[in-house]
């Protein structure tokens, strides 16, 4: 039994290594800092497929998945009560990625079967989100979560987000909006040919709040009492200075 396991593990390790050999990728930036003028960032991933391992007669499909750190997200549904809209039903999702972008060279459904893709964490349907309730209408909340995140530019599925330049070269553009969560991101690249996974590469990316903003945010959350005191002192000083300035 143990031997079989060892062999299986060895085979998995080797096949992982082989998959990684078949594609090389790099990112325009490994560190993204949110500064005071942060207006979002454009993440550029470029890579090359080892053409020697591919069948030149079949088109090569590329999928790039960028995933942010997991968050706990509460989804609320409004209902009309006494003529006004009030939050009523609540669902809590314990593990939703704070950012999730899928860029593909072709519609996902044309690349592989959906169940296979889900198993590899590709596409919205793969986001199980660890919901605390398994009621039927929890599905509405899951869809609403994706819709809200999409509207905020935090989730995206973009067909044609990957462009294959030719000669095995490709590039993917992923937009990170200003409200992107901070933390460790993963960037995964999948190379497919006629529904077979031929290459896989995992990279990491770090998004952080830099400089003054990080300091303010961290101060507000780590020492809230002193943050409040400082806010008051700044207000008093600014108000006094403004008074002096306006008297002249």
């Amino acid at each position: 039994m143990r031997r079989i396991l060892t062999i299986l593990l060895l085979w998995l390790g080797v096949s992982g290594a082989v998959l990684a050999q078949n594609v090389v990728t790099d990112l325009s930036e490994r560190e993204i800092d949110i500064r005071y003028s942060f207006n979002g960032a454009n993440l550029l991933l470029f890579g090359a497929v080892n053409e020697g391992k591919m069948d030149p007669s079949i088109r090569t499909d590329i999928i790039v998945v960028v995933r942010g750190p997991n968050e706990e997200i509460i989804v609320r549904e409004k209902q009309r009560m006494f003529g006004i809209w009030v939050n009523q039903d609540v669902h809590r999702f314990g593990n939703a990625p704070g950012f999730y972008a899928v860029a593909t060279s072709r519609p996902l459904a044309d690349i592989d079967n959906i169940d296979q893709l889900n198993a590899r964490g590709i596409g919205y349907l793969s986001l199980g989100l660890d919901q605390d309730s398994h009621e039927e209408h929890a599905e509405n909340f899951r869809i609403a979560l994706v819709r809200s995140k999409e509207r905020a530019g935090l989730y995206s599925e973009s067909e044609g987000g990957v462009s294959v330049v030719g000669g095995g070269l490709f590039r993917a553009d992923v937009q990170l909006p200003a409200n992107v969560p901070v933390g460790d991101f993963t960037v995964e690249t999948f190379v497919y040919q006629s529904g077979r996974l031929l290459g896989h590469k995992l990279m990491s990316l770090n998004v952080d709040k830099a400089g003054f903003e990080r300091a303010v945010y961290a101060f507000a959350h780590n020492q809230p009492f002193w943050y409040g005191i400082v806010a008051v002192l700044i207000a008093l000083a600014a108000g006094w200075l403004a008074g002096l300035a306006s008297r002249k």
Binding site: N87, A144, F225, G228, I234
Partner: protein
């Protein structure tokens, strides 16, 4: 020019933020009001989360009240004893208000409460102000002069029936501290859950309920507002981390400039006309808020990220 606001967690255009401060500053200079009850809704309309708008505005009001309070203090327009009673009441009210605020935020109802409070308050204050100013304009045309209150009226009423009377020398009053304590408390609750200084409630209450002489009313109310909004800032910082210093400073810088212009325009207009204008603006903001509650939202679902 976009600027990332660390607590509101969104990028806003600096010019837009300063401009909003300037517009509200202009109005507050022109009408002689604090402006919190216009600034907070404006921030919400601009996309700032309501809880952040309320807490940040409390912080900005502290700053906006300093120079006025100092000016009144210099010319002896502050009743410190009365002010202290109002501050104590305000501290209790702000503490309770901030607790309720944090509790409602945890269950996702704080935005609703802020909107409802604004609709109720702006509706009643704006409605009353409009009625009163239109009546004054009409009476003015007919040459009507309001009768002076008799001494009996000045010293009658339930306020003077309360126990533990004490002397407020500056206000030339001998009354129980219970009434100003309650007034202060009510204003404190408003500061915490609406992000307003509360002058628009406190000043009439001081004049009509407490019968304070008008020359100490503004100074004393500014004195109370500074302390109570400062406490509110600390309470919100501790409970919900919703005070955005950067946003408050930007709004203030705009407000300072706007107020200068506003004061100059204000002296050219007549009091009743000013009040009627202000009342119409207050009612307009009220209606916009009310529509937000009644109209079917684009998306019935909303999401909140839990900060661990």
């Amino acid at each position: 020019m976009p600027l990332y606001l660390p607590i509101a967690e969104l990028s806003m255009n600096v010019i837009l933020v300063i401009g909003m401060g300037a517009i509200v500053g202009f109005l507050s200079g022109m009408f002689g009001v604090g402006g919190g009850f216009l600034m907070t809704p404006l921030l919400i309309f601009a996309g700032v989360p309501p809880a952040v708008a309320v807490a940040t505005e409390a912080n900005q009001i502290t700053a906006a009240s300093v120079s006025g309070a100092l000016a009144h203090m210099r010319r002896g327009g502050v009743d410190f004893k009365m002010g202290t009673v109002l501050v104590v009441g305000g501290a209790i009210g702000a503490f309770l208000g901030a607790q309720v605020f944090a509790m409602l935020r945890a269950i996702g109802q704080v935005d609703l409460m802020i909107s409802i409070m604004y609709v109720l308050f702006l509706g009643s204050v704006g409605g009353f102000m409009f009625y009163e100013s239109v009546r004054a304009i009409l009476r003015d045309r007919r040459g009507y002069v309001a009768p002076r209150k008799s001494s009996k009226e000045r010293h009658g009423g339930w306020v003077h029936a309360l126990p533990f009377k004490m002397r407020f020398r500056k206000s030339r009053l001998f009354i129980s501290p219970i009434a100003p304590l309650l007034i202060g408390m009510f204003v404190g609750v408003l500061a915490a859950i609406m992000g307003v200084g509360g002058g628009f409630v406190m000043v009439p209450a001081m004049i009509y309920l407490l019968n304070m002489p008008t020359n100490v009313v503004i100074g004393t109310s500014l004195f109370q507002i500074i302390f109570v909004t400062a406490l509110t800032t600390v309470f919100h910082s501790v409970n919900t981390q919703t005070v955005d210093i950067l946003l408050a400073l930007l709004l203030l810088s705009g407000a300072v400039i706007g107020a200068q212009v506003g004061v100059r325009v204000g002296v050219k207009l007549k009091g009743e006309q000013l009040r009627a204008l202000l009342a119409l603006m207050v009612l307009a903001v009220c209606v916009k808020m009310a529509f937000g509650l009644i109209l079917t939202p684009d998306d019935l679902f909303s999401i909140t990220t839990v900060i661990k």
